[in-house]
């Protein structure tokens, strides 16, 4: 029966979009189960890890089917999570035929990301605001804003395309520190530490940290640990990047500033 195969393929497609966009493990499993049930496949069973989906079906009445998808970690896209979630509710309510649902999923999968300009601006504004929270004055916030802009331009066009996660984050941490030290020595900003804290905020692994906790709390220990490891790794790398520049600066100035 072709139909069962198509249903499971649609379920895997929905699961793939969710997992890639940073949804929790139980949401991925639940959504796939909802879709298979809604289209009348009762024997569907899935196992989801943070980097892959395994789905099988088959019993006396239904044809055997198995599929394994490897899913690399990528940037979080909460708009896609919301869209698939909405779609799965509508599917459950019986609003779509299978063909329509697959078309909708394809549409969601192709949702464009915000333009780089907006993301760069957002990073700058976020850095400036958070600099204020950690005790920076107006001049510091301005410096953090500049550093945030440059940082995200670098992330979009260089580090996320060409560098590994480890080297990328070290270089990002270093870049921000270099910029802040530069602005500080030019007397644009007044508090070096607050400037740096504000501008490293876009690098802080808040997403993997939060998802890791959610997964562990749901009993998905393996995926939760992987995500927590990811969060720790990123945090360490950023810290190393900041530290390296400090050490270098110390050597160059003979320990004047620190």
């Amino acid at each position: 029966m072709d139909n069962e195969r198509d249903v499971l393929n649609a379920a895997v497609m929905a699961g793939t979009i969710l997992l890639q966009s940073g949804a929790e493990i139980f949401r991925v499993e639940e959504t796939m189960a909802r879709i298979t049930k809604a289209y009348g496949v009762d024997s569907g069973s899935s196992f989801v890890l943070s980097s892959g989906i395994f789905i099988t079906a088959g019993n006396e009445k239904e044809e055997y089917f198995a599929k394994v998808r490897h899913i690399p970690l990528s940037a979080s896209r909460l708009d896609k999570v919301a869209a698939v979630n909405q779609l799965s509710r509508e599917i459950e309510a019986g609003c779509y035929t299978l063909g329509q649902a697959v078309a909708k999923l394809q549409e969601i999968s192709d949702l464009p990301q915000r333009k780089p300009v907006y993301r760069i601006l957002a990073s700058g504004i976020g850095s400036g605001c958070f600099c204020h929270l950690f005790g920076g004055d107006a001049a510091d916030c301005f410096c953090a804003l500049l550093a945030g802009l440059v940082l995200y331009t670098y992330i979009i066009f260089v580090s996320s395309r060409k560098l590994s996660k480890i080297v990328g984050n070290i270089s990002c941490g270093a870049l921000v520190t270099i910029l802040s030290v530069l602005l500080y020595t030019l007397n644009v900003g007044n508090h070096l530490n607050q400037m740096i804290i504000g501008s490293i905020i876009p690098l802080v692994p808040g997403v993997s940290f939060t998802s890791a906790i959610r997964d562990i709390a749901d009993g998905d220990y393996l995926s939760g640990s992987i995500r927590m490891l990811d969060a720790l790794l990123v945090a360490f790398c950023v810290a190393i990047g900041v530290g390296l520049v400090f050490i270098l600066y110390n050597r160059l100035t003979g320990g004047g500033m620190l």
Partner: protein
Amino acid sequence: MITEVLAAAVGTVAFALLFGVPRKYYAYCGLIGGVGWGVYRFLVDFCTVVEANFAAAIAVVFLSRLFAVRKRCPVTIFLISGIFSLVPGAGIYWAAYYLVINDLERAAATGYQAIKIAAAIVLGIVLVFELPQNIFRSRKRRAERKKRDTN
């Protein structure tokens, strides 16, 4: 403090954009971020940083679940952006800073502090997620649901 709450709200919206939150939810994300920081700032004068973070995390997660249930969308949307103002990014920085200038005592102290804050946030998230989904629904929806279940 008012400017700080505003900054937290605007900062949260900025990060919501980075994570691709749909535009119609920006206001809620900003509100959650602002409230989270407000709770933290208000309490930090009376108790320790860790306790204040715990209370702020509870506020953030509670509001996130409330909006998620009312707006019928995944809680992740609000939670990830709202929790951002609490995640100890500054702690990580200070730990690295003191480590580099060889002040190991303060490096360990700030590092432990960051871990304790993270643990407080974890506890806040886990506790609020134990609450039953029902209490977040409005009275009207609860009644509708009851009617549907009994039919």
